[in-house]
């Protein structure tokens, strides 16, 4: 059973939605930190990579899945807090471009530490491999991970909406994202808001690590690097300054990537990155403020 258009079948569609959901979570992780710190974290993918190594580490020793996941969360959160203390804090007040270059350096640093530590060949994280098997829903085979990823991402996003919309910390974070100085003057505690953003962003990275290792069980030092580059492009494309457009941008690029990857014939699918980035550049030129932002929200100035 296939959809007639472009030879996209339901399996591809489900996978694309699953990938979009994972990218949306990464986009939120990057967008939250950008909101309060004005810092584009290029090293976000390396948090995911560290989590994936933790999972592989546990899986190689035959530890139960739950222990592996706990270890993954612990490693990612610790690294995330460390990154904030050592790198983000001294960089506060620099321009976004300087911070982007700095986190670019941190990304390479962490990647080469992983290379030193674990070698270039990679480790297998197989404990959740059963999620790769398909389930049959009304005659259509869909991989379980696509469903799990979509549901999990939707749940996380829902929790986040509640947190941002209904709690005090959420209110403070939104205020800080809009105007940090004014928010501070009105009694929002900078340290706590930044801490919360870094914590949530770390939690999301751990969730993403768990789901990405199901899709790609081979964990190498450049694990999640490709994905981060795509998500960053998606976030800028959607609109960096607001969380919802950034998330939509992340979803869009994941969905487009999954769909094109499935729909393009094999001899063209090797040019997939070119198609994607050409689209990104095109959108940036037409709407530099973001695809999903309304007029008047665009903070970007063209020259």
């Amino acid at each position: 059973m296939t959809v007639a258009v472009l030879g996209i079948d339901w399996q591809t569609l489900a996978d694309a939605i699953g990938l979009g959901a994972i990218y949306a979570l990464m986009a939120v992780g990057i967008g939250l930190v950008f909101g309060v710190l004005r810092l584009v974290n290029f090293a976000y993918g390396q948090l995911v990579m560290a989590g994936a190594y933790a999972l592989a580490f546990a899986s190689e020793r035959g530890w139960p899945v739950s222990v592996g996941i706990v270890l993954c969360f612990a490693v990612v959160l610790a690294l995330s807090a460390l990154m904030d203390q050592i790198v983000f804090r001294p960089l506060r007040g620099q321009s976004p471009a300087v911070m982007l270059v700095a986190t670019f350096a941190v990304a390479f640093l962490l990647q080469s530490i992983a290379l030193l530590w674990f070698g270039p060949l990679g480790k297998i994280s197989a404990s959740l491999a059963t999620l790769n098997q398909p389930v049959t829903i009304s005659g259509v085979d869909i991989r379980k991970i696509a469903i799990v990823a979509t549901v999990l991402a939707a749940g996380c996003l829902l929790l986040l909406v509640v947190l941002l919309g209904r709690t005090r910390v959420g209110l403070h974070m939104r205020a800080a994202a809009m105007d940090f100085r004014t928010a501070e003057l009105l009694g929002v505690r900078a340290g706590r808001v930044i801490g919360a953003a870094v914590l949530i962003s770390g939690l999301l990275a751990a969730v993403v690590a768990v789901m990405l290792t199901v899709q790609t069980p081979l964990v190498t030092p450049d694990f999640a690097l490709r994905d981060t580059i795509l998500v960053l492009a998606g976030v800028v494309l959607g609109g960096m300054n607001r969380l919802v457009p950034a998330t939509l941008g992340g979803f869009a690029i994941g969905f487009a990537s999954g769909l094109l990857g499935g729909a393009l014939p094999t001899d063209q699918s090797q040019y997939l990155p070119s198609f994607l980035f050409a689209a990104v550049i095109l959108v940036l030129l037409v709407r530099p403020g973001g695809l999903f932002t309304r007029e008047g929200q665009q903070a970007v100035e063209r020259v």
Partner: protein, 343 residues
């Protein structure tokens, strides 16, 4: 003193390149390769400086111009009889013609310029993060196309068989040429106008400077130099798509930032300093003896150290080792806005 300063600003970097070349002449053959590599890096980083340093706009895409330069020079200077083995699907025009060393370098520069013009015409409207992501996109597209389009090059293969003409002489002359061009540009009307847009885009626009046009001019010039450096690079060692991609982007940006992005002196100092550290560590990875101690570092230490250095410099001294200043007899009051990148 003021009249002497411009002379010093040109001769300082040139002298430094000369000293590096002299060092290359007296050391062993294996160490000479490191020096030549460092000099090619100087050419690439100076190319980066012409755009990033003068405009304050970030570009992750300049290694694309190095790549197309390397492709142009590599494809056309490989001996005709070697081509079918390495590049079996090459278009007939490229397959049947061969260029000499100098012409292939000129072609590399021209191709770099043309590509930078095509890319820059639309992209120079962007600034800040948009520019960063879009230039990254250019790098991804270039890497992707060069990797799979076998009509224009070796695809996944490596440029072996290209004449290795980039010795100490060609590398130091090439680096000096890049420095002279960058210096002349900086002193020209265009360089000064672009510098003004970096310090205050609004004020520059108010006195009638077209930010777009000035950035485009610098982008094309810097693409020309990057293409030329790519030509030098392919004549130095067997290049493939992976050697002109993320790692080179990272290390050259690190050199520029560590040296001090806003000055030519900083670009040259950064390129040579980081190359020195990098070569030392590369040697140490294969085991050397220092001060009677045997030092044997695991593979991959290089990037850890360079990455840590770059992060440290950005955190502790955001204007770089030279403070982003040109060489001068009299230390002037440090500029406050030196690290300013366009927001």
């Amino acid at each position: 003193m003021r009249r002497v300063d411009p002379v010093l600003q040109l001769l300082g970097p040139i002298a430094l390149i000369g000293i590096a070349a002299l060092v290359g002449m007296i050391v062993s053959t294996s160490a000479e390769t490191y020096v030549i590599n460092a000099l090619v890096n100087v050419a690439i980083v100076v190319a980066l400086y012409v755009f990033i340093g003068n405009s304050g706009v970030l570009s992750f895409g300049h290694i694309s111009f190095v790549a197309v330069g390397a492709w142009a020079a590599g494809v056309l200077s490989m001996p005709v009889e070697e081509k079918p083995a390495i590049m079996p699907h090459l278009a007939s025009l490229l397959r049947d013609h061969t260029l000499g060393n100098v012409w292939s370098l000129a072609l590399a520069a021209a191709v770099g310029a043309a590509y930078a013009l095509v890319v820059g015409l639309p992209l120079m409207r962007l600034s800040g993060l948009g520019a960063g992501i879009a230039t990254f996109g250019v790098l991804e597209i270039t890497h992707n196309v060069l990797r799979y389009w076998e009509k224009i090059g070796p695809g996944l293969n490596t440029f072996s068989a290209v004449p290795e003409t980039t010795g100490l002489l060609q590398a130091s002359l090439g680096a000096m040429l890049a420095v002279v061009v960058a210096f002349a540009y900086r002193r020209s009307r265009f360089g000064r106008l672009l510098g003004a847009t970096r310090e205050d885009a609004t004020a520059a626009r108010a006195v009638g400077v077209s930010v777009y046009r000035q950035r485009l001019i610098a982008f094309v010039l810097s693409g020309t130099l990057a293409g030329f450096a790519g030509g030098l690079y392919v004549h130095l060692l067997p290049v493939n798509t992976e050697s002109v991609y993320l790692d080179l982007t990272f290390i050259t940006l690190a050199m520029l930032v560590i040296g001090g992005a806003t000055s030519l002196w900083g670009a040259v100092v950064g390129a040579l300093a980081v190359s020195a550290v990098d070569s030392f560590l590369a040697e140490a990875e294969s085991g050397i003896h220092v001060f009677g101690q045997s030092l044997d570092l695991p593979a991959g230490t290089r990037i850890v150290v360079v990455g840590a250095l770059m992060a440290l410099v950005l955190i502790l001294r955001p204007a770089g080792l030279t403070g982003g200043r040109e060489l001068a007899f009299r230390q002037r009051r440090p500029l406050r806005v030196l690290t300013k990148f366009a927001k």
